[in-house]
């Protein structure tokens, strides 16, 4: 047994209202630079829908993740090492920019500089790639709230796996949101695809990162990731991905997406797992067995044997203790309500989801029945094969049983808690029907409904004695490094070449530049453009107002 710790996340989809706050704050923090205009480390998809990039789940087309070869051995779907090197000069299956979307801004300057005319002037959309006028035809959430679903939802890869009749029904009955970040997999196929070895998994907390100094821009990781959560920065020529906000997590703060989540639907905590069992689990012959297999890789942090092995593996005591309080472990292994996203990609993802019960509740309520009665809800769960089939394609490679079990627990909790809230005698038969005790059901309710900040985010800080080893230490001034502040800027060998700067310094410079530079969307060149997404309300982006003075004619 080789115990390792993994920082993981669970999202409760019932609570997601699709407000995109997580996406926007993440973008403000991480991808507000030129070169990654089209990139959303966090995005929220409406289901059914095409996703971002479009149809990324179609691995026949995009060839992401792992598969078992004829001999039952794990291989990269996009081909092994030799094949990768032979196709290195032009990656055959990399998504094009159109598969994401062409980022744009508006020519706001015309609004104020246009001469007097009969009709009000229009701010034309300008491509951030070419600087030319553009037609806006897609975005990261173009099919939000099933917008254009009649046209687009049929392209949903998951929906295509469910039968035709079911598909039609589905579009009428239910919709939910799916927020996605990098899965920080236990068996990351992006890292395995990287020819340079630049993508690594941190031994301490399992966060998957791209070493920007080692990345050479071969782009194989973009293909390798089945969730398409590695993006190519077309200005710096390097891959970028969700960092699990490591500078925050290292000091015990939740990620930006979690911190700003309006619905408070995200949980962050440690999961201890046996690294020796990862490969075996990823090689599970049956796709539908992967969910169970992955759960077996996780170790019970309350088990004294595991605790001892963890100490021997060098995991600090407070981390083991935090793993015991981890809401993520509780939701995955104790209550078994959280499920992995697309386990069939065999990467052993570590961002799990509690499937949404609300669509089922809505249907029951719409028929005029009591939507908080266990009998009605259970009957509805039995009857509503369609949404369950769809959820199963998302979370358990098509096996409806775990999804149903999870939803039944949520339904039972609803009914059980109603009795308590109304001051009635709690009906202990309800939790028994889903194999739980009243007490544990109440605990689950507490975690799902009431849990405060420090219960939702159990994040042990990186260690004080390791403070000097933190990539961005909080114990010293982050501007205090050789070369000092003022090192930002473009080197002589192309965009942003030169020495890497700490994230905090980079943000500092981006902010200052935004406020003082002559160009609005970063130091550049591509004609006047105003990117209000990048504008923080301070300063005056060029082009927002006409130039001062001297322009009276």
């Amino acid at each position: 047994m080789r115990v390792m710790a993994q920082m993981a996340m669970v999202m409760n989809l019932d609570k997601c209202i699709g407000c995109h706050t997580c996406s926007v704050t993440c973008k403000q923090t991480w991808t507000n630079r030129t070169g990654v205009e089209y990139v959303w480390f966090n995005n929220v998809e409406t289901r059914p829908g095409l996703g971002y990039p479009r149809t990324y789940e179609d691995q026949e087309k995009w060839r992401g993740g792992w598969r078992l070869n004829k001999r039952g051995r794990l291989t990269l779907t996009a081909g092994g090492r030799v094949r990768k090197l032979l196709s290195i000069f032009a990656n055959p299956v990399m998504p094009r920019l159109e598969d994401y979307y062409e980022p744009w801004t508006y020519d706001y300057a015309t609004l104020t500089t246009a001469p007097l005319q009969e009709h009000p002037p229009v701010a034309r959309p300008k491509s951030l790639i070419t600087g030319e006028d553009t037609r806006i035809t897609w975005s990261a959430n173009w099919d939000d709230d099933l917008g254009g679903a009649l046209e687009h939802a049929r392209g949903d890869v998951v929906l295509a796996k469910v039968s035709e009749q079911v598909r039609f029904e589905f579009e009428k009955t239910f919709m939910f949101y799916l927020p996605r970040i990098c899965e920080h997999c236990l068996n990351p196929s992006c890292a395995a695809s990287c020819p340079s070895g630049a993508i690594y998994k941190r031994t301490e907390d399992g966060i998957v990162l791209v070493d920007q100094d080692k990345c050479r821009g071969w782009r194989m990781c973009v293909t390798g990731c089945p969730y398409k959560k590695i993006y190519f920065n077309h200005r710096t020529g390097k891959a970028e991905k969700c960092t699990f906000c490591y500078p925050r997590v290292e000091v015990g703060l939740p990620t930006v997406c979690s911190e700003t989540c309006v619905g408070r639907l995200r949980y962050i905590g440690l999961v201890l797992y046996d690294a020796d069992k990862v490969l075996e689990a990823a090689c599970t012959p049956d796709d539908t067995g992967l969910y169970e297999a992955q759960r077996k890789v996780f170790l019970d942090p309350h088990d004294p044997g595991v605790q001892r092995a963890a100490e021997e593996a060098g995991i600090p005591h407070d981390w083991i203790e935090a793993a015991g309080r981890s809401p993520v472990y509780a939701l995955i292994s104790t209550y078994k309500v959280a499920l992995p996203l697309h386990p069939e990609y065999r990467t052993l993802p570590m961002v799990w989801y509690i499937p949404p019960l609300s669509p089922v509740v809505d249907v029951v309520r719409d028929t005029g029945h009591d939507a908080e009665d266990t009998g009605n809800l259970f009957a509805a769960l039995d009857a509503l094969r369609i949404p369950i089939g769809y959820l199963a394609e998302l979370f358990t490679a098509g096996d409806p049983e775990p999804v149903e079990a999870s939803l039944r627990k949520l339904a039972a909790m609803r009914a059980y808690m109603r009795d308590i809230n109304l001051g009635r005698e709690p009906n202990e038969r309800i939790p028994q029907r889903v194999g739980m005790s009243g007490e544990s059901m109440y605990e689950m309710y507490r975690l799902l409904a009431l849990a405060k900040y420090d219960e939702r985010y159990v994040i042990p800080a990186a260690h004080a004695e390791q403070a000097q080893r933190l990539e961005e230490s909080v114990t010293e001034c982050s501007l205090d490094y050789e070369g000092g502040p003022g090192m930002g800027g473009s080197g002589p060998f192309g965009e942003t070449s030169g020495q890497p700067v700490p994230v905090a310094v980079e943000n500092f410079h981006v902010l200052r530049e935004r406020q003082t530079s002559d160009t609005a969307a970063g130091r550049l060149d591509r004609g006047a453009r105003v990117n209000l997404l990048n504008w923080d309300g301070n300063g005056r982006p060029d082009g927002l107002f006409p130039p001062r003075g001297g322009d009276d004619a």
Partner: protein, 233 residues
């Protein structure tokens, strides 16, 4: 003049090439990338890029064979001069044509596809110019000297000179009476090596051959803050 061109210049080129790479690696690991434009345009790239790259790899092999391997060795292996000559010309021309057509497609793409052209720096343009001139001169030398002018055996002049430079016994006289095209090709190649470390060509030196042997998943500990690169460290 002969000494300047065929003794001083090669050593300057080698020195700049080596030290340039060392300096660039220390100063600018972040800028060390292919700066791929595949995201902007894929159709032409998928045709032109493999053509060019595989072509240039063959050209490289050809140069290794022609410049580094002495004639005595091929003679010893029982390869007659005529046979060698024809193999070299035929394979060289094929590789050269592959490279040239790939490069033509890539340069056409770079000029005509809007986003790709915008992403092209002045540095890139200079590099493309020197690279294209070198390749054209090389192909021209092979073609004109061998096919049109009835053959030129560079293995008695250029190759020994090339080896003499690396053996630290440079013999400039060997190059003095070589056809102009060969001379021009060698000079232009030296120019290319001088600018090499300062262009995107650096990606060649980090061709990821290590991928074949390393474990799939890389684990790494939270490392100490990397010492900032620079001369004083």
């Amino acid at each position: 003049m002969t000494v300047l061109l065929w003794v001083v210049l090669p050593y300057v080129a080698i020195l700049v090439f080596v030290l340039g790479h060392v300096w660039r690696y220390r100063y600018d690991k972040f800028g060390w990338t292919t700066r791929s434009s595949e995201l902007y345009e894929r159709r032409l790239l998928r045709l032109g890029s493999p053509l060019f790259h595989f072509g240039i790899l063959f050209v490289l092999l050809g140069h290794v064979g022609g410049l580094l391997i002495p004639e005595a060795w091929t003679d010893a292996a029982g390869l007659s001069e005529t046979a060698y000559h024809w193999i070299a010309v035929v394979l060289g021309t094929i590789a050269g044509v592959l490279t040239i057509s790939g490069m033509a497609i890539l340069i056409y793409r770079r000029r005509t596809v809007g986003p790709v052209f915008i992403a092209t720096t002045r540095n890139d343009k200079l590099m493309y110019l020197v690279l294209a001139v070198t390749i054209l001169l090389g192909l021209g030398a092979t073609f004109l000297a061998n096919v049109a002018a009835g053959g030129y055996d560079y293995r008695h002049t250029v190759s020994p000179w090339f080896r003499s430079v690396f053996l630290l016994r440079p013999d400039a006289q060997l190059m003095a009476h070589v056809p102009v095209l060969y001379q021009a090709h060698a000079l232009s190649a030296m120019t290319l090596f001088v600018i090499w470390p300062f262009t995107r060509l650096v990606h060649v030196l980090t061709a990821p051959v290590g991928y074949l042997t390393r474990p799939y998943i890389v684990y790494r500990s939270r490392t100490p803050r990397p010492a900032r690169r620079g001369w004083a460290s």
